[in-house]
Symmetry: C2
Subunit: 492 residues, 2 copies
Amino acid sequence: MTGETSAPAGPIERRIRGDLPVVDAAAAAASISADATVLTSGFGSVGYPKAIPLALAEDDRDLELTLVHSGNVGEEIDVDLVESGAVARRFSYQFSSAARGATNRREIAFSDRNASAIGDEVQYGGLVDPDVAVVEAVAVGEDWFVPSTSLGQVPAFVEAADTLLVELNRAQPLELQALHDVYRPASPPNREPVPLSEPGERIGTNHCRFDPEKLLGVVETDIADSTYSFRDPTDDDLAIAANLGSFLSAEMERSPVFDDAIHLQFGVGSLGNALMGELKELDFGDRDVAYFGELIQDGLLDMLDAGRLRCASATSMALTEEGQTRLFENVERYAEDVVLRPADVANHPGLINQFGVVGVNSAIEFDIYGNVNSTHVGGTRMINGVGGSADFNRNSLVSVCALPSTLDGGDVSRVVPMTFHVDHTEHDIDVFVTEQGVADVRGLSPVERAERIIEHCAHPEFAPELRSYLDDVCEQDSHIPHDVRRAAEWHE
Amino acid sequence: MTGETSAPAGPIERRIRGDLPVVDAAAAAASISADATVLTSGFGSVGYPKAIPLALAEDDRDLELTLVHSGNVGEEIDVDLVESGAVARRFSYQFSSAARGATNRREIAFSDRNASAIGDEVQYGGLVDPDVAVVEAVAVGEDWFVPSTSLGQVPAFVEAADTLLVELNRAQPLELQALHDVYRPASPPNREPVPLSEPGERIGTNHCRFDPEKLLGVVETDIADSTYSFRDPTDDDLAIAANLGSFLSAEMERSPVFDDAIHLQFGVGSLGNALMGELKELDFGDRDVAYFGELIQDGLLDMLDAGRLRCASATSMALTEEGQTRLFENVERYAEDVVLRPADVANHPGLINQFGVVGVNSAIEFDIYGNVNSTHVGGTRMINGVGGSADFNRNSLVSVCALPSTLDGGDVSRVVPMTFHVDHTEHDIDVFVTEQGVADVRGLSPVERAERIIEHCAHPEFAPELRSYLDDVCEQDSHIPHDVRRAAEWHE
């Protein structure tokens, strides 16, 4: 898009500017065809449209929508709209049992994509033929809007879709604009590198622009985002956090790369939250500590408040109610150090590589050779989705997989002989951490990795059986010895 | 490194400049400690050191070397040195049956890394503790040398190692310098994007610099690189090439992204060579066609000669004897359009993404859900290594996996129910091509992918059995239904 824009160059002070087609949610929903491909804002279960999906869930038509978003969205979509049966096809992350059930029963054709890639895939890669983008905003004008609590793939989706519906959500503070750095890489194949020199830099604008001819309508709402609640850290969480802390301390001591600065990323969840707690206690010396990740969690706000973290870059916020209140009441202060970017920038493979990120992510299970399954229980039943974990696991300078060694109260080992679904290959992960210890597998052959993982990460209840598996298969002359039937028995 | 350098700013006209410690290969080998970690030049089986590895193979000491290179090297290392028993640990690619055997018997601790990453992993990631870099050069001075037929991870290795040995190879033309664009990204975590705006741009120098205090010696040699020989294309190769050509034509027609330009990458080998032949015949209209890949093959020289290709960027050359002669006799003419880069630039995840590459790579097998095994037969026995295939499969805008549907004269299907080693996950590949047809799986759920792959890619001899597998497992309520025991039987 070129030419004049009505978007102010500085801070935006009014919710609505210009003569806009304000409609109610039912009318907006009715403007979406029954088999439309709908691209929505939303990432980390915040910043997604709410009123229009609820209206679609109530719609009398026999809807067969294709629904695209790059991170998870909230209950209005993941429960209400899904349970209404309106969603025939979906990309690319889910969290509710309703959505999970529909995916596993294959009532919804679900395709799991990497969070970094879905913008380009939608706009350039032939993944779908997009009809309408439905985005949540805190302010809107004739050819611009200000996104709310997440950026996700909003700029790509707005460029890719034929039409646009904007939900203006008055429950979201207008001041969120101060966090945004809206920058969309140009179209391949001839485009420049993303001109980001450090995680906290700003290279874009506080608003997203659109072709005014695309705008079908603006729907006003005041439905609040859902917030996260994390369980209190378990003993295992605390032990994992302590082991991770020891590893990070030793790594900073060992590697001159981290002498002056370290860039971190943490996966979200109760464990991630506990890990963030440990981080607060960690001695980073006088290093410049920055976060280059996907989601902002409460622990990062704590670290910013304590002056332990210089800046945080992400595409969304996974905050508790307390954290959200703290952020909303102090947006402009946090905006000095917090930058929200589109997911194609926040999770960009080249930038994760460039910034030498130390990435810490969880999973369902990993095998003795270092393959990681983060999406499918037993290799077959989908839980949530791969999200951005592969972006960080593949491209981080140091990739850490951190999780408890067991689940179901200790009955099931998360360290297995063989994972039957692989999201992150044996080439991706450098270090495994459980409550049992740390297995740094860098530079090791597969069988050496297995020995170290069994010794340092497996639960003592399961280690002898894993050891016996390894001993027996090692009678084969093969680089990665396996007995698939026996590995299958393990899962039964 | 900063300060004065003796390297001329323009073309380098003499093989040796300055007072250098010229030694024989045996003396150079003797300067390497018995348990040293040795980083070598070499990629695509060219540009690797030859005399010093041969001397190491003859060495009387009980050597236990760790050997690191980012692509494949030639027989002097992969056969002679390996068969001498001198290699205890090795990264990250092999091609000889000697090396393969030692890896599968686990006499060599082999670790398979992505070609793009091994420079950073060696220099910053704690993979190894490097002692000496051994590089082949066509010219050398007091603090610089000109690499020969490949760049690989040479700049990173020279920076990372404590010491340096240079093999000055007079069999390699001095004019190769005209191809080189030596650029090493700075150290993470605070570094700038690689400033490359298009595949043919030059951002570096024709030589690689080093700290003169590191130089242990210069060894003069005249041992030629090995060259490639490709079998004549089989009927299957030609059918795959034709199917790929149809897909590419349709994709250029469909996607506005390719209206003005298309950037291609092809994996190496007899099939790759046949695909390149098809490419020569393909109608690209008036599009700007560029190659942003890992290896230059004969077919690319043909396309350059025919004016069908504007430029080619790679880290090495996989040429036949005829191709090598053609290149060597016309280096300066080819250098107008051919750029050799270090592998950390040629295979850079961010650049592959930036340039919207259409990447075409082969594999051992793929499964009905789109997981790809490119390294381990039966999931256990290593063939060569992952090389740069994951760099391109993961980061290309359109990732194509192309291979014959069967092997061993049709007795074994390369389309299987489940791969028991995964190098490229179900999130990575967009399109599968065999001699049977094309399965474009973009936007499909796993079971839809399976249906399309069985219908369009599997050999008719095996399709009914794959179909029966899919039908039976689809009785499960799961997103990616499997019966691991039955999938294991398939491989037996």
